[in-house]
């Protein structure tokens, strides 16, 4: 290599290296973002998408180096100009390769036709859709483009774009997701085309949200137009929902509500199946439907604890299109058998007396534990495991303060149910006046009226003859005092002592004046003969005017007396509703006393034991009080309609043979009354529980005819169920809904004081009722005070049981039960055209409603900005430049030079 060429090569390499470095520095100094170079060309920015090609400009020095070897004879000036021009051409190629682009605009239109091929679209509508798509293709301009997407559950791009290719999606038609189709369309529009979209659909969505998407479409400049086809509109009847109560208990009747939706008036047959069998109470119904929503109610009853699944099927509609939506399924949790503690006063003395009631409740799926009064728990904790406590004919003397207090706490605080049934030893006649039991019962045993109007008026007619002096008289005084003690304060008492003549020792007065009465009795002294008749007449006169329901005379005597006119007197007394009992001590004339009691409808006591005298008086007084018992045939009359007795047929029940007379408290609900207008069945709320008074009995004394009545078990089961404790644990509201294929569960934990319950460890079990197994177990997450959330995808159609167990420190503190169902694809719920969503989407995105094909390609005054490649134009200019370059080389424009001859 000669020295000249060597020098040239070195020059070339150095020059190119410098040029390359310069380009490199420029590139990195002006590059704001990796890989891209922006320059402002007047007011139009130009972006170079591949600026690394600028390095090619480093070749330019090559031309200058080669020029030094040139054998051409054009002038040096022209050679320089030519070299620069050639370098510019090379730089031009580098620029072209660096992909210059700018933003340009055009008004060509690309329209995506989005076709609903879901099951809710009829075949006729689909055919119209095809014809419409064909018209759209025919209406497009030469430069416009048309694309076709069909959608059901998911969207699909039709590759050949032919309207004939519009077809249903095999196996995936049971859903409509317009939003997904719109999103797919975004990825189809070519650059430089005004994007347009037309949705051919009935507007019903099962997934996604077209409305939200329409705002994004507006942001992206894609107007969503729509067209619906209402010919061939289907007539449809479907089951929209099946609703069960939040809480179902074994054996407790409840109502199931079905929402049937119809486009027209029709008549259908409904069959309700409970688990694998027809619903026992109402297996089928024929109902006339009107247009719109119709509610149909079925009565049902759960037979076993756990859960129960109801399937409602509909058939026989004159006009119906879709059969898949003619059935619905719903599962609900069923709480176990209620537990009742039945305390029977005569359980020990006559065990068979408790069996009637026990059997009746067992027959109605209620667990009954029978105990004698001694077995009544004395702590609320022990009572807590029962849903209801039933007290029957237990005298107050067998129930201690602790037990009464426990019962009150059980009802008031724990929410338990308490029923007191009548009998000889219940209510007032059981000695419960002014006790806690009376306080919590809905009836008063010694009511306000009774306080104003004495219930019992007792006249003690005491022999004070000489023979009574000493211990006999003292025993008689003691007995008289005891009588006054036993009586209720409002009752009346008078004490008449007699020898030949009567003497009022205690005037007729209220028993509440006990001190005074006792003092008056103390003044009683012995002396004189014995004549019963004047004394009884005195008692008759006194009691006749007394304002009392029960009037009774107790005659005490130890001797003999004339009986003339005595029978007539006592009969008169009886006619005045005054009864007479007699107590004979020592050598008393039994036949005389017998005569008195026989006519006086009373009892005769003969005793030598003076110590027994007070007890006899007390018993006699109590017996008299027991006359508060109404022992007559009474019919149970409905005073108030209530769910408690609904459907029991109590209006047709046989007569009862008696009850305890009580008075309703002002705020109680008296549901059944006797012919006399007195309460038979009454209830009220006590704190969080319910107490019920049944003033007749439940045994074979007053209810003997009821025991044979077929409605007896149901009547009592219903009273128990409507009165028993609602929940074992606290139960918080659980709501569930299915939206967009996901079940969303919310539990609001709020306690009785309206405080939020926080920091619970809550697990939600999703139970498949078919297998009773949990298919999902999800931790519910607290996201606000008292609020716990969970959501899970519904993995298959059907009904699910939801059970949320709330724990604190590992101990369950509450439970929430619920259910959720997605019985069939939501697609089959929606069979009529819903233009509302489409209309709103069109309005938001500035599309057209019910658009005709030509309108879809009308750009109006719109233009679309797009990134335009400038390199083809650069190449065009280089080609032109190359021709100029040729002339620059070939024509001696600026003179010539002479070449040395070598």
């Amino acid at each position: 290599m000669n020295a000249r060429i060597k020098s040239l090569l070195i020059k070339s390499v150095v020059a190119m290296a410098f040029a390359g470095l310069a380009v490199f520095l420029i590139h990195h100094l002006v590059t704001p973002e990796a890989g891209l170079v922006h320059i402002d060309w007047f007011d139009k920015p130009i972006t170079f998408l591949a600026p690394k090609w600028f390095y090619l400009a480093a070749i330019a020095p090559y031309f200058f180096v080669v020029r030094t070897l040139s054998l051409t004879d054009v002038s040096d000036t022209q050679q320089y100009i030519s070299t620069v021009f050639r370098s510019v051409l090379v730089a031009g190629i580098a620029i072209a390769l660096a992909r210059p682009t700018w933003t340009s605009s055009d008004n060509k239109v690309a329209t995506v036709i989005i076709v609903d091929v879901s099951e809710s679209v009829s075949d006729a509508q689909l055919e119209q859709t095809r014809a419409y798509a064909k018209q759209v293709k025919e209406a497009k301009g030469e430069q416009d483009r048309v694309y076709l997407i069909t959608f059901a559950e998911r969207p699909v791009l039709i590759r050949d774009g032919k309207s004939e290719s519009i077809a249903r999606h095999e196996g995936a038609g049971a859903g409509s997701n317009i939003q997904a189709a719109v999103q797919l369309a975004y990825g189809i529009y070519p650059d430089g085309y005004l994007p347009r979209m037309v949705v051919l659909s009935d507007g019903n969505q099962t997934h996604g949200d077209l409305l939200s998407e329409s705002y994004r479409a507006q942001e992206m400049g894609v107007p969503i137009s729509f067209k619906t086809f209402d010919t061939g509109q289907t007539q449809e009847v479907h089951i929209a929902s099946l609703r069960l109560p939040d809480e179902i208990k074994v054996g407790a009747p409840f109502e199931i509500k079905a929402e049937i939706w119809s486009t027209h008036a029709d008549e259908v047959n409904l069959r309700l199946q409970q688990d694998d069998f027809p619903n026992a109470l109402e297996p089928r119904k024929k109902v006339k439907l009107r247009e719109g929503a119709n509610w149909v109610t079925f009565k049902s009853q759960a037979k076993a604890a756990g859960h129960t699944t109801y399937t409602l099927r509909m058939s026989g509609a004159a006009y119906d299109t879709e059969v898949a939506n003619n059935a619905s399924v719903m599962t609900a949790p069923v709480r176990g058998r209620p537990r009742v503690l039945y305390v029977e006063g005569s359980a020990l003395s006559n065990p068979s007396s408790a069996r009637y009631f026990e059997k009746a409740l067992e027959h109605e799926n209620i667990d009954v534990e029978v105990r004698s009064p001694r077995g009544l728990p004395s702590s609320p904790k022990e009572l807590e495991r029962y849903d209801l406590v039933f007290i029957s004919d237990v005298p107050a003397q067998f129930m201690g303060m602790a037990q009464m207090q426990a019962l009150e706490t059980y009802v008031r605080k724990i929410g338990g149910g308490l029923v007191m049934a009548g009998g000889e030893d219940s209510f007032g006649s059981g000695g419960y006046q002014n006790t806690r039991m009376e306080k919590i019962m809905p009836v008063s045993f010694d009511g306000e009226k009774q306080r104003e109007q004495p219930h019992v008026a007792i006249a003690l007619v005491i022999d004070r003859s000489g023979s009574m002096s000493g211990r006999n008289l003292e025993a008689a005084k003691e007995a008289a005092r005891a009588t006054a003690e036993v009586l209720s304060p409002s009752d009346l008492i008078t004490v008449i002592a007699f020898d030949q003549q009567p003497m009022k020792v205690v005037r007729l007065q209220r028993a509440s004046n006990r001190m005074r009465i006792s003092s008056d009795i103390s003044r009683l002294s012995a002396g004189g003969g014995t004549d019963v008749r004047p004394a009884l007449r005195e008692a008759h006169e006194l009691l006749q005017t007394a304002n009392a329901k029960i009037k009774h005379v107790i005659l005490l005597s130890d001797g003999k007396a004339p009986d003339e006119g005595l029978a007539d007197l006592v009969q008169d007394m009886r006619a005045s509703r005054i009864t007479v009992s007699a107590v004979g001590i020592g050598g008393a004339d039994k036949s005389l006393l017998q005569l008195v009691t026989d006519h006086g409808d009373g009892r005769l006591y003969m005793t030598d034991d003076l110590a027994a005298l007070p007890r006899i008086f007390m018993k006699e007084t109590t017996e008299a009080q027991k006359s508060a018992l109404v022992e007559d045939k009474v019919k149970a009359l409905i005073n108030k309609k209530a769910a408690m007795i609904e459907g029991t047929g109590v209006a047709n029940a046989p007569a009862l043979r008696g009850y305890v007379s009580t008075k309703p408290k002002p705020t109680s609900e008296v549901i059944l009354i006797s012919n006399l207008g007195e309460p038979l069945l009454a209830r009220w709320r006590v704190g969080s529980g319910t107490s019920v008074a049944w003033t007749s009995d439940i045994k074979n004394r007053w209810s003997v005819d009821w025991l044979r009545w077929s409605g007896y078990p149901k009547f009592w089961a219903q009273i128990v169920r409507t009165s028993m404790r609602r929940k074992v644990f606290d139960s918080y509201d659980l709501s569930a809904m299915v939206e967009d294929g996901r079940a969303q569960i919310v539990v609001d934990a709020i306690d009785d004081d309206d405080k939020f319950v926080n920091e619970l460890e809550t697990i939600l079990e999703v139970i498949d009722p078919k297998t009773s197994k949990a298919v999902e177990s999800i931790t519910m997450h607290q996201n606000a005070a008292g609020r716990y959330l969970a959501d899970f995808p519904v993995r298959s159609y059907g009904s699910y049981l939801l059970k949320a167990v709330h724990k604190r420190d590992g101990k369950t503190v509450a439970e929430s039960m619920g259910s959720v169902a997605l019985p069939y694809p939501a697609e089959y719920l929606k069979t009529s055209i819903n233009t509302e969503v489409l209309l709103q989407a069109a309005t938001i995105s500035e599309g057209h409603t019910q658009v005709e094909p030509p309108k879809l390609f009308d750009p109006g005054d719109q233009k679309i900005d797009y990134t335009q490649d400038l390199w083809p134009w650069v190449l065009l200019f280089i080609a032109i430049g190359l021709v100029l370059d040729t002339y620059l080389k070939r024509l001696r424009i600026l003179g010539h030079k002479s070449l040395p001859y070598a």
Binding site: R154, A324, N758
Partner: protein
């Protein structure tokens, strides 16, 4: 081969003809001979002799020169037509690159000094992926945040993809992986060699990762059974409803992110008590997502005032809750919680979840006017609620006061056994007990003796928690309720409405077909509940409503008194304005930003309703910023992406340009050295 012809081919042909003519013309022109300086005349002989000897060669040199120039011009013009090679090769792939732009991509833990965001790192990763693409690969870029957004159609123009990529920024929303995979699968349907490349940090919820299925889900019957439907147990049940069908799609994962620590607020809410609506309870949940213990300062603000500061210590992975019960007062309805790093602690790599907002549902004191003769039950029920200021007037006093225009500013009026002709103007809400006469808000159609309520609306706020089945009424008036005018029947006796509610513009009206005599309703729990429900409904105070939402999930927000209005204006925390749809009094609201949003419904020039909503990230999956180097989808571990096979680009213009460049170099040398002339 196809010509994409960005410049019309006719234009190119015309230009080609003109340029060819000019080139030929350049060579037709008679060129004067070159001048040589020779030392003495005998050499002229040699020059002339040489000329004769090279005459043919000289002709050839000119022809060659012309040919070269025509070739170059031809190549340039041909390149300008953008020729492309024919159909793609069999192994060409269709690839959707899902670029994770969710909130966790805002984590600052990338780069050599850890000062770069994961988003920037993801963009770099995608650039590398694009560089490795085969020339035949058709690529779609898809952005994944709370929604899936295709950013391009399928094409192989990598430069344009790079430009698109540069616009992707991380958002405040969690990743919706299911939607993105579904959208990608939709776009890839029917395409050859479908592939999804997920570029992200793997902060995705477990159920989304489990939702993918690799076997086709379209195996259910084509149509539902034609005869007896079998719900639940039907053929529909075979379908995997929640699955994303990725059958036949090659899904790959390119991780970004390095280990970083984060302590974040994952729940923040405030809720008013149901009975004492003036007080509220705040709930905050915070989690330490790192492997190291952390200490933070938790500050609670009401408006701009600090109301509590706590120092909290968290063990690795520990989640704690803080509850502030019985808070009251506070001038602002906006609460804000912030966790701050202590000076001794390293800063948090993910700042988005360090702050959260909550808004108390509006619960202003209500001024209630009771128009009734003495009614202790009613007055007693209203006295229970602390937030009510109750005035009482008899109907006669009411008429006088109304005529004297003395009745102003009442939020609600209760008319008992009275339906006056003149009522307080809107927005005073009206509650009637046993209205009658021509001014009853609902026409009275009849009366039921000893009627019972057989159906209670399951959905209306007034009837929430109400049990009316056992309530006794001597008489119940029935109303004509026009459901087509959005009137709602609250209670029904058999099929007759005995209570109803409606909205009249900004005013709400409720009416019960019974008074408080001849019934035991006032002795039931239902009565005060019915009253508070009604007054809450009037005030738009829904005790279930929690006005704090999460970003990236559409939410239905009740907006009171908006009947007939179809959209709301949303002002985002950054001050941007958007619109959102409003239907049946509910706005569908999608929060893309963390912070306090304002929704305003306007009718004409009047603001009819307004609500403020807070949006927080509140997403433990997103806050758990520990990157996943591996990812399993539907039980299958995802492989890393591989480069495509090296193939020439389909687009030929670049090669044509390079050929022209080469020819220019050669031609310049040959021309100057007189090989061509």
């Amino acid at each position: 081969m196809n010509l994409l012809a960005p410049i019309a081919s006719g234009t190119i042909a015309t230009v080609a003809a003109v340029l060819a003519g000019l080139l030929v013309l350049a060579y037709i022109l008679k060129m004067r001979r070159r001048r040589f300086e020779v030392p003495f005349s005998t050499l002229w002989q040699r020059v002339l002799k040489e000329k004769e000897a090279t005459s043919l060669w000289r002709h050839l040199k000119r022809l060659l020169s012309l040919l070269l120039l025509v070739t170059m011009v031809g190549l340039l013009l041909f390149a300008a037509l953008e020729p492309e090679l024919g159909g793609a090769r069999e192994d060409a792939r269709s690839i959707v690159i899902i670029v994770d732009a969710s909130a966790s991509m805002k984590t600052i833990d990338e780069g050599e000094d850890g000062s770069e965001s994961r988003m920037a790192a993801a963009r770099k990763q995608v650039l590398l992926l694009l560089d490795g693409m085969s020339a035949d690969d058709a690529i779609m870029l898809m952005r994944m945040d709370g929604r899936a957004t295709p950013l391009s159609r399928f094409h192989g123009d990598l430069a344009k993809h790079r430009k698109t990529l540069s616009t992707i920024e991380a958002s405040d929303t969690p990743a919706n992986l299911t939607a993105s995979l579904s959208a990608a699968a939709d776009a890839l349907r029917w395409r050859k060699k479908p592939q999804i490349i997920l570029v992200g940090d793997g902060a995705y919820p477990e159920d989304a990762l489990a939702s993918a299925t690799w076997e086709s889900v379209a195996d259910a019957p084509a149509s539902p059974p034609a005869s007896e439907p079998e719900p639940g147990a039907s053929a529909f049940k075979n379908k995997q409803l929640a699955s994303v069908d990725l059958a036949g799609i090659d899904v790959r994962y390119q991780p970004v992110g390095s280990a970083a620590s984060n302590v974040g607020i994952i729940s923040f809410n405030v809720r008013r008590y149901i009975s004492n609506k003036l007080n509220y309870e705040v709930f905050i949940e915070i989690q330490n997502f790192s492997d190291e213990p952390a200490t933070r300062r938790l500050v609670l603000f009401n408006g701009d005032s600090e109301i509590d500061v706590k120092e909290i210590q968290l063990a690795p992975g520990q989640r704690i809750t803080k509850i502030y019960p019985d808070l009251g007062g506070g001038a602002e309805s906006v609460l804000r919680a912030r966790i701050e790093s202590l000076e001794s602690e390293s800063s948090d790599a993910f700042a988005l979840d360090d702050e959260a907002w909550a808004l108390m549902p509006e619960n202003k004191r209500q001024k209630v006017l009771l128009v009734s003769t003495d009614n202790l039950y009613m007055e007693g029920a209203l006295l229970i609620f602390d937030h009510l200021d109750v005035d009482k007037l008899t109907p006669e006093e009411y008429e006088v006061s109304l005529a004297a225009n003395e009745l102003q500013d009442y939020d609600a009026v209760i008319y008992h056994l009275y339906a006056p002709e003149n009522v307080l103007p809107a927005p005073a809400h009206l509650l009637y007990f046993k209205p009658s006469g021509p001014h009853s808000p609902f026409p009275v159609t009849g009366s039921l003796d000893r009627g019972r309520i057989t159906q209670v609306s399951q959905t209306h706020p007034i009837t929430r928690w109400l049990e009316m089945g056992d309530v006794n009424f001597d008489k119940l008036d029935t109303f004509a309720v026009d459901t087509s005018a959005a009137e709602v029947s609250l209670f029904q006796s058999i099929r007759s409405s005995v209570a109803a509610a409606k909205k009249e513009g900004r005013r709400k009206v409720a009416a019960f077909g019974f008074g408080l005599e001849g019934t035991d309703v006032m002795l039931r729990v239902a009565f005060p509940l019915m009253m508070v429900n009604t007054l809450d409904w009037f005030a738009g105070a829904d005790s279930d409503l929690i006005t704090t939402y999460t970003t990236g999930r559409p939410a239905r927000v009740p907006l009171d008194g908006t009947y007939g209005i179809s959209e709301v204006l949303v002002t985002t925390p950054s001050g941007a304005h958007q619109k959102a749809p409003l239907r049946e009094g509910y706005a569908t609201f999608f929060a893309a930003e963390v912070g306090v949003h304002k929704l305003v419904a306007r009718q004409g020039d009047e603001d009819v309703a307004e609500i403020q909503l807070a949006a927080n990230l509140s997403n433990a999956s997103e806050s758990d910023i520990q990157p996943s180097a591996e990812l399993s989808l539907g039980g299958k571990k995802l492989d890393r992406p591989v480069p495509g096979s090296a193939t020439p680009r389909q687009s030929l213009w670049i090669y044509l340009c390079l050929m022209v460049l080469l020819l220019l170099l050669v031609e310049w040398y040959t021309f100057n050295r007189r090989i061509t002339v």
